[in-house]
Symmetry: D4
Subunit: 146 residues, 8 copies
């Protein structure tokens, strides 16, 4: 049974590739989808399609529309969601995507470092499982196939 | 027509009281609900009800369960949601509550300072309206009654 | 049994006041809600709240956000929807609101002149009832109380 | 990941074929569905199946029932919707289909010329993205696959 | 706790008045709603509002649109549905209304004579409770208040 | 694009085989599902599985549970529903299945003889299309593929 | 803000009265609803309304239909659910009602003795909050009003 | 037509293997999914992934989170649910899973021994069919393919 996994979260390191590689090593039949991970491309996509906008505010609004379109299409395809928080940045998109997933009744795993226990406590409480590493997240997914 | 408004967002100043006062001055028939705004009480509520927990992690988990219960009951009652972001703290609960509200098709207004335009761009794009002050948020709500 | 009626449609004459007056004459216990009917105010509301926008496009986008917010709040309150098309203007908002209402399973009446039968045929087919005058629309609503 | 795209909008030129051709040139794995594009066939389908109707009104009603049936079946299959407005005709079906798609939470792109910014502003505000050309619409869809 | 009860079913005798009288005698705080019970009015309502139709078929179609509008508005208000089948007539409206109510998760009671056990067996199996008299139907409703 | 069609309706002649044959002759890529068409088997299935029941009433209740289970599984798989009414029998199952399908937003076609126009008028009004022959029903479905 | 609370759970002692008394002492504006708490009446209600059944099995089936009808009507009215497990009996109705409430997104509190932690662990994990006493359950509800 | 079947229920004997073997002997095109059936693994999975917990209570909570995640992913994939109750243990998970399935409108079969008729009567009444053996459960499923 192939499952599609949406990988929400920060796009500042290669955690998605690492997770995908580990999943492949474990022979888990998973298809991964997620946001644009090229940060500059993500910020520029609105102007790339719609042309120059009048200011940073409108540039951001145009980019976010395209990014949200992508996320919406792909999250609908997902059987489950893994959302990773890192120690840096606001990461409100991650919180937004995970909260959307939970409200849509998508089974959801949060990965976050110990240092973020307190600020993420309500979101963790709503997710199915919260872990600290991507190995643990894959352990949870692998358990479906046992 | 009385409307119930859930006030999501930070609990570190008295913006809710200020907003309620202004609403009263404008004679807007609004009922406000929201999270526990006593920060210490909010963090301690799990242990206050369930007793001493084994560590900070479990203390947080117990508190978040009660806080989420409260939010869930009150947000279901809300006709619309106003969520305010400040410049400090992670405010992931605010992002979570607003994203939940949007996914539940609650009409939603975000209030955030100009400095947060970029990190909030995707969430702003999904909300109905984003403004910078609580006066503006009330302007939007007052427009319903014109 | 009081019913709330959303009055979708053009805002270029006083059909809503006329309909409300006739409903009162018939003693129908109806509460009417609807969009902003001051056309200039409707077009200007975005800038009135958010301030001057960089161009007509952004002015329109800001106004539409606030107008959609209002519509969404009020349509949720409606037990039924009456949408009126006139012979002038694009009236895509009317088509949008009626289609939204139908998709949300709100019982819906369309009022349109005979000249619009053909271009409105698919929308009419999806609505519950299509009539040509507001008297007839009220006949349909009054029938609930017989 | 193959995606099914419903192409709502006017049926007076060959924009669907053009869009499909461009999608193929870009190797996008998309399946396109949409309304009957033979305008005469679309208007005549009711009588073609049900026989001669008593007047133009009933002829239109019969045709619209079959057209709506087709749209409903195919839109349920769609992962996303692209709706194109041209400068001519009422195009209320386009507004209806896009509004239905948005209410059903289908990710939606509007294509419209600059001249229609104002009358389409509320619908644009509810769609995910609004662009001016089918190339741009495909840019948005292609972004999902980056 | 006042409950609203939709009384689906045949309109050829005064079972609704009888049921309402008995409910009043038992002091049950129930509000009853239901279809038009004047059979001629029900059949004629389409032409009464829309004017003379080209044939019996179109007369029926016009009437059914208005009747369905009424049913839809009132059934949404209902906390529970009682549907009564008699020994005469097709009563497909009754089957339709009860099936709609069950699919909408409205708690539903069927009242039918013993002679109809067999043809109604699948519908009975889907309803909450099936009884043979309106006294028994009220017994079931009264049990809510014990 | 293969579509699955649930064939609701009477099981007293071979209309399903006839319709399937015609669909094959037209090369329509349709998969047909439907109720048990062996009438005796349908009535006996409860006792066949659960053993002898105390009376005809309980025999019917046991059978209907299994029949409803089958219908529920298969209708969920259906992209559209065709329901056929004949001139004989109560056919309340047909009305029930069609009403369920419509309430679940399944696109639905009714086939019924001219003699049943009046008693089926409200159900016809809620269905997408009503025709008189299975050829016409297939015409409607074939139109999806034009 | 008055809230309606469904009290699911065993009916072998007066915990509902005790809880209601304590709520009153705390001046909590709560309305309590719940199942029939007269155990004999609950078991006999089917035969009381429908008459003597052929065996204990059918007696039970008739009673459960009426009990489920009552539960369904009242749970729909509830803003939140409190479910109490005791140390005796199977209490599958309690598990059923709580699981139904959670699946319907009703905020839910479980009350259970320490001895039942293990067998209830999955259900507890899905509920919002699990406590050991009705005082604690009221603490959770009272927190909404702080 | 391949169907996916979730097998809820006790994990203390090999009824799932037996049922799967019988399904294969009958050539039923079914895919079976279900909970972890290694009881020790199921109880230990939380600590296996998250590490040692402070007490049995937290160990149980951690395990149940992972078990619920698995169940949620797999039940969404299921076309129908078979839930088996045995004579031993609390089996509240079984009641929870079946009640969840019913509330999600999954067609559901309960298998239980005669001795459990009374305590399971309300749950049986809500399920589609209740039988006493896995052979009978497969008879019900096989009937879909007749």
């Amino acid at each position: 049974m192939n499952l599609t996994v949406y990988l929400a979260g920060q796009i500042h390191d290669d955690w998605r590739e690492e997770l995908a590689k580990q999943a492949e090593e474990r022979n888990l039949p998973l298809t991964f989808v997620g946001p644009q991970t090229d940060h500059d491309r993500s910020d520029a996509i609105g102007e790339a399609i719609l042309g120059k906008q009048p200011s940073a505010f409108y540039r951001d609004d145009a980019a976010s529309a395209v990014n949200n379109f992508r996320t919406e299409v792909l999250m609908k395809k997902a059987d489950l969601v893994i959302g990773l928080f890192g120690e840096k940045y606001k990461q409100w998109n991650t919180a937004m995507d995970i909260s959307t997933a939970i409200t849509l009744n998508k089974p959801t795993i949060i990965v976050r470092p110990e240092s973020l226990i307190h600020p993420l406590k309500e979101l963790s409480n709503k997710a199915n499982v919260t872990v600290e590493t991507i190995e643990q997240a894959l352990d949870v997914v692998a358990y479906i196939y046992e």
